[in-house]
């Protein structure tokens, strides 16, 4: 059996809020296989965003073991986590988080520039742009696009450097039903086409249904779907 791409053992994260310790994660165990599309479902405050931020290297864990593609996050320095974001993990956010002054092409290009990738985009990625339906919108600014189109640009940007893992935090949270379905279909399609592991955080069971597997999160603990 192949090693899981994400292996989490007894992960804990405690924040200091004023003079109170907030235990956001209270011993999370999780394994995610290569190419798996996993949905983590839970209400606000359940700890799913904290888990997302730790897996993306945006914040360090307090204790436990987190192996991402063989790298132990507990051992990574700040620059090590920066490298993780550059090479191993791609993000899709609820608010799209596109750079408003750049065109679609430049928003994608800057991700390549940060990763040190030069030269023209390859044909496989051009096919991805066609699949996402944004190939003819490359010279537009984000404000000239609908929410669904902006989220598709964000997806394109997140996969342009072929990260092993795609982390999506409420990717349909700001979209209507039609656009939500379109975005989830595209993520599903990219998961199959590129073989990327996708971890999607959502509170919407309908969105979660697009995943291969669903886990529930509540009060800082993970529970397998019933």
């Amino acid at each position: 059996m192949t090693e899981p791409i994400i292996a989490i053992r007894d992960l804990r994260k405690t924040f200091r809020s004023g003079e109170v310790d907030v235990h956001a994660l209270r011993g999370v165990d999780l394994s995610v296989a290569h190419g798996e599309f996993l949905a983590i479902v839970g209400p606000s405050g359940s700890g799913k965003s904290t888990l997302f931020n730790i897996l993306g290297g945006l914040t360090p864990p307090t204790s436990g073991t987190v192996l991402i593609d063989g790298q132990d996050l507990m051992q990574l320095s700040d620059s090590g986590r920066t490298n993780l974001r550059k090479k191993t993990v791609g993000f899709v956010f609820q608010k799209y988080n596109l750079l408003p002054t750049l065109t679609v092409a430049d928003n994608i290009e800057i991700a390549r520039d940060i990763a040190g990738v030069t030269g023209p985009m390859d044909q496989q990625f051009r096919d991805v742009l066609d699949t996402l339906g944004i190939a003819n919108k490359m010279d537009r600014k984000p404000r000239q696009l609908s929410g669904g189109e902006q989220q598709r640009v964000a997806i394109a940007r997140s996969v342009v450097n072929r990260p092993a893992i795609l982390l999506a935090d409420e990717p349909t949270g700001n979209l209507d039903t039609e656009n939500s379905t379109a975005v989830l279909d595209l993520m599903r399609s990219l998961n199959k086409k590129l073989g990327q592991t996708i971890l999607m955080i959502t509170h919407n069971p309908e969105a979660a249904a697009f995943a291969d597997r669903i886990v529930h999160m509540r009060d800082g603990h993970l529970h397998a779907a019933a």
Binding site: N53, L58, R85, K86, N97, L98, L99, I110, A111, I114
Partner: protein, 335 residues
Amino acid sequence: MMLTLVGVGEGMLRDQEARTRGVGADIIIRPAGSSAIGITPPNINEKLVAWAKEQPHVTQATGVTIQPLGGVSTVHGVDLDALSKMSGGFTFIEGRPFQSGQEAIIDEYYAKEKKLHVGSTVKILNRDWAITGIFRGGKLTRMMLPKTVLQDLTATTGKVSVIYVKLDDPKQTQAVIANFKQTLSDYPIYSMDELATQFSVNSIPELKTFIGVVMTLSVLFGFLVVFLAMYTAILERTREIGILKALGAGQSYVLGILLRETILMAIIGSLMGIGMSYVTRWLIATFIPASMTQAIVYMWWPIASAITLGGALLGVLYPAIKAARQDALESLSYD
């Protein structure tokens, strides 16, 4: 601002030099104890003009009375026939030379700035003077009155401020100066070429200090403007910096972007400053051509650009380091 102020300093010096050369003299005698340039009170005995004319190689000599009018404005009392002969003649765009006691002539720049014409009157030393002629600029000064009238009016009869001397052979200039100095040992006596070298910023300590102050202020101004602009910009772009960091941008990448932006801003600012110096030159030449002259000092383009860049880099340093060190997660949460 820097290029304009330096240009005005340089331009006024060059203009003064050109007008002094326009007299056509080979030697200038200034009062004892005076500096090479600057406004000189009339305290040379006018009899020296006649004495100078009698010296070997001297073909012409004329004394000029200079009366300050406030600021850098002056009016000159001249023997117009003698000055005209020495300078090769005045070209009158309008009117004629002055003839009687209450008449004045002005140059084209003064006429343009003050919107004066032949027949207009101008108030000088609390008297109204009728303008009889407007001459082509580049001859000694902008306003001229009959010398004897000005001397009487200012109680300096028999005194002049400067004596201009023309020789039969300019090669004899140093020999004639040496001869003059035997009698006029306390008087600064210059050849025209020596005087021309004095028309530079380096010869005027006050102007040098002024330019130093302008440079310092420019660096401080540049620093403050860029510091505040970048500090505000970085605050406004906190979320964007967070996005870059989420994409894997490290501190050096963020720092590099901000420094490149600042360098670009400084280059654009420098080019705009150069462009603005042409605009201010046009404004000065159009609206106050008699009061000021601005030169375009090419030598200062790289200096001003370097000062702008230095001030800008100084200003961006703290905000840029602060931005580069921003926490990615906190930045992404910023609204």
